[in-house]
C-alpha cells in the first residue's frame, strides 16, 4: 500500500541553525500538509500546499518557516533559524485531490530536537 515517507526520522540541530525536513507524499496525491506535535501536546496544523503554492497556513507558520516542492516527489519544510521551541515531531500528510472529501495520509514523522 502506498505511504507517505519522511526523512530523517530524527534531526538534532543547534539553535539558530537552518533545518530542512523532507517528505515524499503518495505519488498521485495533490494536496500536502505539515503538522507539528510538541511533546505531550496535540497535533497542530502548520500549512497546506496545492498547485505549487501555499493554500492555507496557521499563525504558527511565520516567516521562519517555508515550504517547497522542489521536484515531482519531494515536499520540504524549512525552518530558517531554529529556536528551542521548534523542538517537536513534524508530520507530513497528503490527500488525493482538492475537490473530494477524503482523509489525509500521514507520514511517520520527523522528530526535531533543537539544543
Amino acid at each position: 500500500e502506498p505511504e507517505v515517507t519522511q526523512t530523517p526520522s530524527h534531526q538534532v540541530t543547534q539553535m539558530g541553525q537552518e533545518v530542512i525536513l523532507r517528505c515524499v507524499p503518495i505519488s498521485n496525491h495533490l494536496y500536502f500538509y505539515w503538522y507539528r506535535q510538541i511533546l505531550g501536546q496535540k497535533v497542530e496544523f502548520l500549512v497546506s500546499f496545492y498547485n505549487n503554492e501555499i493554500s492555507e497556513k496557521s499563525e504558527i507558520f511565520d516567516d521562519q518557516f517555508s515550504v517547497e516542492r522542489p521536484d515531482g516527489s519531494n515536499f520540504t519544510l524549512k525552518i530558517r533559524s531554529t529556536k528551542l521551541e521548534d523542538s517537536a515531531m513534524y508530520f507530513c500528510a497528503s490527500r488525493p485531490d482538492r475537490t473530494t472529501l477524503n482523509e489525509q495520509y500521514f507520514g511517520p514523522g520527523t522528530r526535531l530536537t533543537v539544543t
Binding site: K42, S48, E56, R95, R98, L101, F106
Partner: protein
C-alpha cells in the same frame, strides 16, 4: 473556528473490556470528523471518518464511532479491547475549505491491562 476536546487524558481498561473514548467538537457547519491512532514512535493511522449519511461509522481494527449532532460528539467505541490497542487516540475535525486542514483534539492515551 473549529475546536475539538477530548475530556479524558488517560484511560486504562482491562483486555477484553469495552472502550469508549469521548470527543466533542465545535464547528459552525456539518463537520468532517476523524479518529486517528498513534502508536509509540509511529505516525498517525486513520481509524475511521465521518462526512455525511449514516451516523454510525465502522472503522478498522473493530472500532466504530457515532456522530451525534445534538451533543456535538463523535465518540469512539470498541466492544472488546486488545493489548495491541494501547496507543494515543486523536479526534480531528476537518475544515470545509479546500484545504480541509485538520484541527486535532489533545488526544487520549489508552493503556490496556492484561
Amino acid at each position: 473556528a473549529q475546536s475539538v476536546t477530548q475530556p479524558d487524558i488517560h484511560i486504562t481498561v482491562s483486555e477484553g473490556a469495552s472502550l469508549e473514548l469521548r470527543c466533542n467538537y465545535s464547528y459552525g457547519a456539518t463537520p468532517y470528523l476523524f479518529w486517528y491512532v498513534q502508536s509509540p514512535g509511529q505516525g498517525l493511522q486513520l481509524l475511521l471518518k465521518y462526512f455525511s449519511g449514516d451516523t454510525l461509522v465502522q472503522g478498522i481494527k473493530g472500532f466504530e464511532a457515532e456522530f451525534k449532532r445534538s451533543q456535538s460528539s463523535f465518540n469512539l467505541r470498541k466492544p472488546s479491547v486488545h493489548w495491541s490497542d494501547a496507543a494515543e487516540y486523536f479526534c480531528a475535525v476537518g475544515a470545509h475549505n479546500y484545504g480541509q486542514n485538520f484541527v486535532f483534539g489533545p488526544g487520549t492515551r489508552l493503556s490496556v491491562l492484561p
